[in-house]
Subunit: 367 residues, 4 copies
């Protein structure tokens, strides 16, 4: 039997349940879970803030595991056979259909309505399709990515889903060499966005966030300046950004905070003709009041919503993580680990911002 | 002496004043004004809604005139000498400096802080620098554009500043061949945007506006569908747009209405991953409430503020007007003409939407 | 039994062979072929100019058919069930894999190495997988497109594969409103490119090609000027293009001629900073000599190779064909029809440029 | 009197001539020259390879000087007054007109036909308008850039015109995070391109060039791999690039070699759908033979010529030089200095590739 932490419905304590050993069909793979991320999205799931979630579910969308079994030859994303005992991750979002209007005509694959997500959109009774479980069943077609040489489990999971989300946000920002970039948010997504903004050739990078320990990490991720929202008022933040940009504002502002009020502040931090990426508003946390004349039209502002991630973001993000693993220490984001039985504590720790990044560790793997 | 209608301060009746005949310095040109547009911006000027306007001013930013005198050889934008009796227009926005950070580093020339605008930013005591005057002084360096063959005075002024503003809005929209486009607004800017959206290869073009006579013009400008905001509710408008786009929403929505509430509605009319151009919020008409999760982030929406126009918009817009003058009859927008003494009536007529486009005719030229 | 024209090997007369009636597996569809295009590519196939073709093959990549049988419910590209007796076409290029590096990381789906093409990459002994046959078997997953209302068989096949190829070439060109466009080539691809360049908002469109009857069609497809390569020398062509562009050259040049020498001439016809799309060099017809200083570097030229088509091009091209079927009469391209037994004559007719577009008509359908 | 090295005509020894002290008109500035670059373009000037050069000229387009005198208040590019004794550089290319079709309609300012270039397009009898002179006269409107804090004279001149040229080439390349980039050429432009490719988020950077000491510099500029064209054959280079890209080729190839044969090789080094920037073909060094089917069309290749530089490249390049002056040591490129009397030796040294970068030092400044 396989043990898994199950979110039976919103706002209820999670239960550890037992499931039969998975029996992989052709093309499927069974992983022994090494660790799985506890992400802000999991907190949203706990509060029932996402629509259409088929509770009970096994949470855990980004995970690392060891290959236990493959049903027939299964290829990884580079076309090499997946082998027993390999350490791999996989793309949590899969079944981008490749056949619908969004995939083919609009070519906006992150809006494909047929996408499925491990740990979010599968009911627990369909199988071990979430990472907070001793084993994970990878369906045929799930994109399997062996960790590159030199990237350890803790490096990868330290990046976790923030790595690809931050990557996508930075890609949407079209940073030019020499730009000044403001990142609103210092959680895992914000830290990855900080690193990728720096790697994109930004001159100045300014991170607006909290608490202090995350801002210290932001500096380690090569932010030039950090502004603690608990100590620096919105007016002072604006003044600071104008002060380091000759009064113009930042070329690019990237919102990855999750707080709707950040979207009120963001346009003012950007220069005329600048770019504002909104990537942190993953659930409906309420409406905001903005001035379309002053904040968009007269500013000639570019605003870009940014939803989900595609394989290209994971793939290239991971390459750069491998190259720069000594320069950007994603592993340092991992602050807490929890057993399956401690899933509620894990969620609480992330919600209270105690943990920068918490892991669920279902088996014998240890940090 | 030269007679001109002068806006002495906001909310006061305009006065017809007399000025000495202009004495052009080297490189300057004097025009006999044939006609000058009454634009929504003039209504804003009357209400004092634009910051930094040096009242008293001579309004009138887009005008057509006959060359009376040139001080030395003056070249038009194609490098040919400007000649006496030629019928010309000129770029109202000038002195884009070409030397500042916005011109050179950001390459966003419509945000150059040194721009000056005929009819808006010049005090009347600096000279005949607005079109509601029997004569206009063109400073050295003002870009002079002879009307192309086949384009009559009434064609050009029928387009007026809506031609270049609508052109710029459509250029910002990056319409793809086969797109469905919604235009919010059926004033002169909206009608030009409708024409240029059609010329950009849109499949369906839907215009949301009022009153009826403008919607009839929108159909003449090749809108497929028009929705009268006085008769069709916001819910019905959304339903209509979803109905003609297989439930997805429009690929592109272009706001040229001037009404902040249009900006609340616009994102919902766009499909996921679509583009929303906000080009009509030229003055501060108040704030709005939007939901950043549902309307921007989850939609993966592209929002583009659009400020001002550059010479390229005027130049190319005019070429297409010349080519398609029989297909898109911009001259049909001209509904009213007023003498200098009737400037107040002209403003009232535009404000009440009686006039689609009103002209001030200072001299002997007649429609 | 089903009769089909088979190209057994290069340079051999085609044979009409008989095959057993197809037995569709789940998700497959059988079409009664109404007509199938004879394309320049088929001439290349006959001469053995494409690598890796598994002769013997049944040629015919773009075809229209009537649905005879579906094995279970099969959906068209808009998600509606395909029904018996429906008139449909289908995307000849299929099995873009959606899983490889080109599909996912580079997001360049026309370079997916797993693509298969009806009428080109399938051996005849794998089944009725080409259009020069009384019936066609559509494999599961092949994208089926019902002809839109108002588009008749002859309209669609008149566009044929030139419709999507010309569409893709124009999309690569990023035509701006008001641009001058030169199209090198007046075959089916050139004529579609002419129409789509016009629909993209070009001001002037100039077609360089031959023979006369095709240039007459180019004018019907709204070319402003046509230059007959048999009568107008390269120097005169350059002089002409410079003459209508104030000495600068065209903003955009699109090569769809198939002649390598066109690529020598093309850069000179473009203005500095212009765009040159090379879309007609589908087989290796030899090398050319160019001057990289004068023709690329100093010109600050953008050159864009353009390979294959994706579903978005077919889908949007077809929408615009439906909208503008009275304005651009693609049906007028169809000049010749041939029976299965006349496949060799069909190829000869296309090769000699006698036919603008020839069809193979395997059954009872007639023009 | 002021001494200057004068190139009287092609292929003649330079002469040191004396000129009267400059008398600056309003808005002009006189610099005491500290040093001036000897660039590959100067070698081309010596051989008479550029059209329209008004010999005799004072060469030297990129220079650093100390302000001796300003005629009235003169502002630098950030709007601050230029002050006596300040150490400044200036944009060699000036008089981009801001009024012509290329500036305004095409918005391709590097192709403005009115541009003038210090050290290249001014005859010596018009004044001290080149850097190989004890003093330089900066005309009104020339963009003056004070060296940023921390950037010493030798840092800036070590970058020289290669800094902005390499920057422009990299900007044209649109490098994506994680790309593999090949730089063809290891001269000053190639080394700057290497640095800026790295700063743009490239994963692998490969430099193809010679001689050995330049390749060592390329590694110091963070190339991962260098291929010595004197030791590694074209076939081996292709094999190497394919080997490190899973057989696909580089995402981006940037030509900054000056050798036309590089343009024959470049497309093959790029992957399908990749980008090839041609920025090194500054003079006509002859024609080349390429295969448009295999090297452009079938590859779906993007080729971008890259001519000249604009102020944005200098400005942002200099900001990044200041930030990364310890990481990328442009000063290390300076290998030789020459007096005015040694101008011929300077040219010979650059032509023979002995010098990575040579300076002319007209006065008392020393390295």
């Amino acid at each position: 039997m396989v043990r898994a932490a199950v979110m039976t419905q919103p706002l209820q304590p999670l239960e550890v349940r037992e499931y039969p050993d998975p029996e992989p069909a052709a093309g499927e793979v069974v992983l022994e879970t090494l660790c799985s991320e506890v992400c802000g999205t999991d907190v949203h799931l706990y509060h029932g803030r996402l629509a259409g979630v088929p509770y009970p579910i096994i949470p855990g969308h980004v995970s690392v595991g060891r290959v236990m079994e493959t049903a027939g030859e299964v290829l990884d994303v580079d076309g090499r056979p997946v082998e027993r005992d390999q350490i791999v991750t996989f793309l949590d979002v899969h079944e981008t259909c490749g056949h619908c209007w969004y995939c083919l005509v609009a070519q906006e694959t992150t809006k494909c309505p047929h996408r499925k997500v491990y740990g979010i959109t599968y009911p627990a009774d369909e199988g071990l399709l979430g990472g907070w479980s001793e084993q994970i069943l990878l369906k045929a077609g799930v994109k399997i990515v062996p960790l590159p040489e030199g990237v350890e489990v803790v490096d990868y999971i330290g990046g976790g889903c923030g790595l690809s989300t931050g990557f996508h946000a930075v890609e949407r920002a079209d940073i030019r060499l020499g730009d000044t970039v403001v990142v609103q948010g210092s959680g895992p997504v914000g830290l990855s966005a900080t690193a990728f903004a720096r790697l994109s050739g930004a001159d100045q990078v300014i991170v607006v966030g909290a608490p202090e320990n995350r801002l210290a990490l932001a500096e380690a991720f090569e932010a030039d300046h950090t502004l603690d929202i608990n100590r620096v008022s919105p007016d002072e933040r604006l003044e600071f950004v104008l002060g380091v940009t000759a009064g113009r504002g930042a070329d690019v502002v990237i919102e990855v905070s999750g707080n709707p009020q950040a979207v009120v502040e963001g346009p003012d931090l950007a220069r005329d003709g600048g770019t504002y990426v909104i990537a942190g508003q993953y659930t409906d946390a309420g409406s905001i009041t903005i001035n379309p004349h002053l904040q968009i039209n007269k500013k000639h502002l570019n605003i870009r919503g940014c939803w989900g991630t595609a394989f290209t973001h994971v793939y290239r993000g991971l390459r750069l993580m491998a190259r720069y693993r000594d320069r950007f220490r994603w592993r340092d984001l991992v602050s807490h680990t929890f057993l399956l039985e401690e899933a509620d504590e894990a969620l609480a720790s992330v919600e209270k911002l105690e943990a920068t990044k918490a892991l669920v560790v279902p088996g014998t793997w240890r940090l």
